[in-house]
Symmetry: C2
Subunit: 669 residues, 2 copies
């Protein structure tokens, strides 16, 4: 990777690492074969000159950025077409290209065609009948038509029943008449909707024979196949500039008496017959499945964000020198400041734990969705509750962690050439999409409170909440000995008590005369706090189990590092919720000080391997796209190079001097 000589400060770090970097890289990639695939894909995509930018995209206007993004999206699409023709059908490959790190390296502000592949095609596959799949799927796969998925509206998001768009069946012509009856009913946000897609799956309230039937998906043609002009009744455009995802071409869509034929309603789950007779779906569990699937995937994305941000900040902190520790010594690498270590290393640990948890929950999802296919829905609510709170916690922690990393790089982190602003924009978006985080926590909490009632009744609980039963029978947490195992147990005890309090507060308000729903709203902050602890207890447990297991299977050098990572993660997590620990567990001031000293100690032990740990994430320089985080550590040179690309610097005197500044300066002379 390195083209210039590597910065000696960073080389020194690599020379003194006590574990084998490649061993962890392979583990991180998911095994030797995956590791090789990853390298091959990187070669194929990142070395194609057509997919490289001369000008950093932060210098483009919104319109230019869209045009630039569409150009590259088409090249990627062409390559996907070739891969498919060659028999490649790896979902992983498409994911890496469309949403993963490879995609982010090529189109760092997002791909206007992504929703076509990840939502439009899968929706037809999941909700279309066999006939519909025959009609639409090959056209969609071949990109003869480009689609998107239009559900959220200007005035309506999370609460689906609130959607206003309606489809009225007209039996006389065997068509649906689709309308957005008000401004707040406009479809809002779908990626590629603005100027890219010519079709969409539009979700609308279905009416047949004058009766309301619930939500249904319709394939609607938005633009003419040849001219790309909007079809009659279609009001469509790009919603405008955003904090991030700037190349996605998020759009709006108004429909006025748009008629689509009967066969355009996706009818695998529910049907409308020619005369307007409605056949209801058997169950709606499968929709749950998709949402869980996406949330599980998002957990891994948050790990990736933290991996990127911590790589950039750690490498920078090895090169940057500032503020002497000993006034008689030169300025040290800033990574030698304990306060800097406390910013960086917990983010590295979280990246590893979130990745491990993401992988674990992915496996769990596969097991449970297998059970669901067999008609066994026992573990669905448990899995739903877990995926909701983990999505919320991991996205919130990752966004905060990215910002901590950025701020740890001082002013230089504020420059776009650090790539932190883009990483933050992509990461914080996860807090909102696929279920807003507070709504997610409330979903989990609702489940926990129900389970708590079951525990009180002595019912046996499913695995991920069984700790609640234990705590119901145990009023005091004995034997906090500071071992990692006891920190995990303590997390569960604390989580159970947070659920207890939420339960008790709701009961109290019910006794005061409030209905259950109003009582739950009043207790909202108790509920979200309980869900937060539930998720954190699960993360602690998973970190402990998985990293311990991993340590047993790797070489001793790597095992030792993983053990430090685990201890750092758990002690830091505990101190971040120390108020809850002190509230429910008898700990003295000295106990807390001991944990704090231990944290300091973990930081010190991780210090010599920090650079090599982030190296092991094996993020290609193009994936990082950061002057501060390049593998060679030549930070100042890369920053300076980036300014040379700045269009403002292509001319020594800007035209605005003559036009505005000179007349102003000379005005009174």
């Amino acid at each position: 990777m390195p083209a210039k000589p590597v910065n000696p400060d960073i080389q020194k770090e690599r020379n003194t690492a006590t574990f084998n970097c490649r061993e962890f890289s392979v583990l991180w990639a998911g095994g030797e074969e995956r590791f090789k695939e990853k390298k091959a894909l990187e070669k194929m995509f990142l070395e194609d000159p057509a997919l490289q930018d001369d000008l950093p995209i932060s210098y483009l206007s919104h319109k230019e950025l869209y045009e630039h993004s569409l150009r590259k999206a088409c090249i990627i699409g062409e390559k996907i077409r070739k891969l498919r023709a060659d028999g490649e059908d790896g979902v992983d490959t498409y994911n890496a290209l469309l949403g993963g790190s490879l995609g982010a390296a090529i189109l760092k502000e997002g791909n206007p065609l992504a929703l076509h592949y990840v939502m439009f095609v899968p929706t037809i596959m999941g909700q279309g009948t066999m006939d519909q799949q025959v009609e639409w799927l090959s056209k969609a796969w071949d990109c003869e038509i480009i689609g998107t998925y239009a559900q959220t509206e200007l005035g309506h998001g999370t609460f689906l029943r609130g959607l206003e768009t309606r489809a009225d069946y007209d039996a006389s012509t065997q068509e649906f008449v689709i309308n957005t009856p008000s401004l707040s009913a406009y479809k809002w946000w779908p990626g590629g909707l603005g100027h890219t897609a010519n079709h969409a799956v539009v979700v609308a309230q279905l009416y047949t024979k004058g009766e309301f039937r619930g939500l249904a998906p319709f394939i609607v043609q938005l633009r003419d196949s040849d001219t790309h002009r909007p079809m009659p009744g279609i009001d469509i455009g790009d919603i405008g500039t955003k904090l991030g995802m700037k190349g996605v071409n998020n759009g709006y869509l108004g429909l006025k008496n748009v008629r689509v034929p009967l066969k355009n309603m996706l009818m695998k789950n529910q049907q409308v017959l020619a005369d307007g007779t409605y056949v209801a779906p058997k169950n709606s569990v499968l929709t749950y499945g998709t949402m869980m699937f996406v949330r599980c995937a998002l957990i891994r994305d948050t790990a990736q964000s933290l991996a990127k941000a911590s790589t950039i900040a750690t490498r920078y902190s090895a090169v940057r020198r500032q503020s002497p520790i000993d006034p008689n010594q030169p300025e040290p690498q800033i990574m030698d400041h304990t306060t800097q270590q406390l910013k960086l290393f917990p983010q590295i640990a979280k990246a590893i734990v979130f990745k491990t948890t993401g992988d674990g929950i992915w496996n769990m999802y596969n097991v449970i969705s297998g059970e669901i296919e067999q008609g066994n829905l026992d573990r669905l609510p448990e899995m739903h509750a877990l995926s909701c709170c983990l999505k919320a916690i991991c996205s919130a922690d990752a966004a905060a962690g990215v910002e901590t990393c950025r701020l740890s790089c001082g002013g230089h982190g504020y420059m776009d050439c650090s790539n932190f602003p883009t990483i933050y924009g992509m990461t914080t978006a996860v807090c909102t999409y696929e279920g807003e985080n507070t709504v997610m926590l409330l979903q989990t909490a609702r489940y926990l409170v129900k389970v708590y009632g079951q525990a009180l009744n002595g019912e046996k609980l499913v695995p991920t909440v069984s700790y609640i039963s234990d705590a119901v029978n145990q009023t005091k947490f004995a034997n906090f000995d500071g071992s990692l195992r006891s920190i995990v147990k303590a997390f569960q005890f604390v989580a159970a008590n947070k659920t207890r309090i939420a339960y008790e507060q709701i009961e109290l308000r019910r006794k005061q005369g409030h209905g259950t729903e109003v009582a739950a709203n009043l207790c909202g902050t108790f509920l979200t706090a309980a869900a937060d602890l539930h998720g954190r207890a699960f993360l602690a447990q998973t970190a402990y189990t998985e990293l311990s297991a991993m340590s047993r299977e790797v070489s001793p050098g790597l095992a030792e590092v993983l053990q430090v990572v685990l201890e750092l993660y758990l002690v830091d997590a505990c101190l971040n919720r120390i108020g809850d620990f002190l509230r429910f567990i008898d700990l003295t001031d000295q106990d807390v000080t001991k944990l704090e000293v231990r944290l300091e100690n973990c930081l010190k032990r991780l210090r010599p391997n920090a650079v090599s740990l982030v190296d092991s994430f094996d993020l290609h320089d193009r994936v990082l796209d950061s002057a501060l985080g390049a593998y060679d550590g030549n930070v100042y040179e890369h920053i300076f190079e980036s300014t040379k690309k700045n269009p403002l610097n292509k001319e020594p005197v800007n035209g605005a001097f003559h036009k505005y500044l000179k007349p102003f300066m000379k005005a009174h002379l």
Copy 2:
């Protein structure tokens, strides 16, 4: 202000307020006269069509944004010239225009001429001799020359002694020869340096007669007065795109054997004689003074950021409806969700407390700087310590608060038309500039640890740290009765104990054989935690004293609201540091639950006045510049209007369709 009919949901909120909005607005502005001045300035600047944008600036490229910003900056400069000619010399006016809310309304991504007014001119005033002021000041005031202030370098920020730029005096020609001897010595960051300024104060390491003399400021001409081309030896340009402050034209500057005459060194404090004899400054206290001044001003800026963000989010939350509380009822205003209240209302309370504290510390600064001018430096370290930690805490809390407000608006907060991204960019920058926050906290902590030693020795402490003496003599905090007064006292007790632990940990490491400086570095996280609590204890104390005093002077309706704000602020602040409270004070699980219920109660009591409270901040719609936060509450209409300005939407089919997408879609046909 409202041009369209006000949204009925928001009008309802205004109708049911229990206090007089205007009364608080006047108080917030600083009195009736200031309130009128503010309105007059708004009229003069915000109604000038030349200062209004047809196209939101988020659609511009970096280069276009610079040119646009310079145009407006010149118009503002022209108006300032007129104001001065008319005898207006109000510093407040210039501040409002260059850094304050008015400036942000006109140039929301910053003003490339700002540093000329706020750093270049004041530096000449503060560090130039009378002769130098005569030579430079009138030219600078008249904007015949445009200057900036070049101190930080690519490789050097906070630690000034690390600067590499050097000025060698050549007695034979009576000139200084200025050089940036390496890439990392390049001046980096100064606003307006890129393509705007033709002069700069350059800070460099001074050498005369071959000896090092310390830092000194030099006036350097950067560009030709007529052609604006860079002078010989000057390598200059714009550093590139950033997270925020995108219109400021931050620049870089390399100097190669640039010669400036002897008289260009600013010599009020130190002198170089013609033969190279160096006359050292009497003391360096005055530099301290400037830094304190700026940090005190920043505290008020953070209050302004929170006021803006909470106004936007609160108004949006009154209009947006989502997720039924009672399933049989329609979707409520989202402000009725307790979880939403917990996001918004603490930010409103913090805006008020930070403003009050900012005003208070401003007065304190004036008193103390008066004492300093009299040669009395007694309170300088105390004031320095306080301004450092408050700058850090208020900026970090404000940045987090802005993001909380943004996230509380769901997806719509992510759109630039909400204005949250810009407000965040401006606010989070404060965490880094004028002293990076961690460095600031360490400065405060160094002082606290020293003071703690004095307290142990029984010495009398100065007012803002006297609570440490109390705590040294009191091992247990008795009588936590939950009153606001006792929360304030408890904050001080907790803060004193955090300082005690930092002190003890340093001592411990010294006993283990580490030098003081290394011991302090090892204890970095203990130190920053102590400084954090010191600042929070001061904020709690100030909130209690000032808001109580204010309540006694206003009408009963407003007094009641201010009391709720105070209680909400204190209870929330306490719960946010509950781990520290439980660590040092005997509180039971039930005590904590009681505080949590009380927080919920404060939220409920503030709810009816929330919209009117933010209305009282009296932020002009142009200052907010937010589709979500406009006074009339017509959120969806404003969002939709903003999309109509999007250049992408000016043509039904984008050119990239014909160029890239169509060939791709038809490739296989």
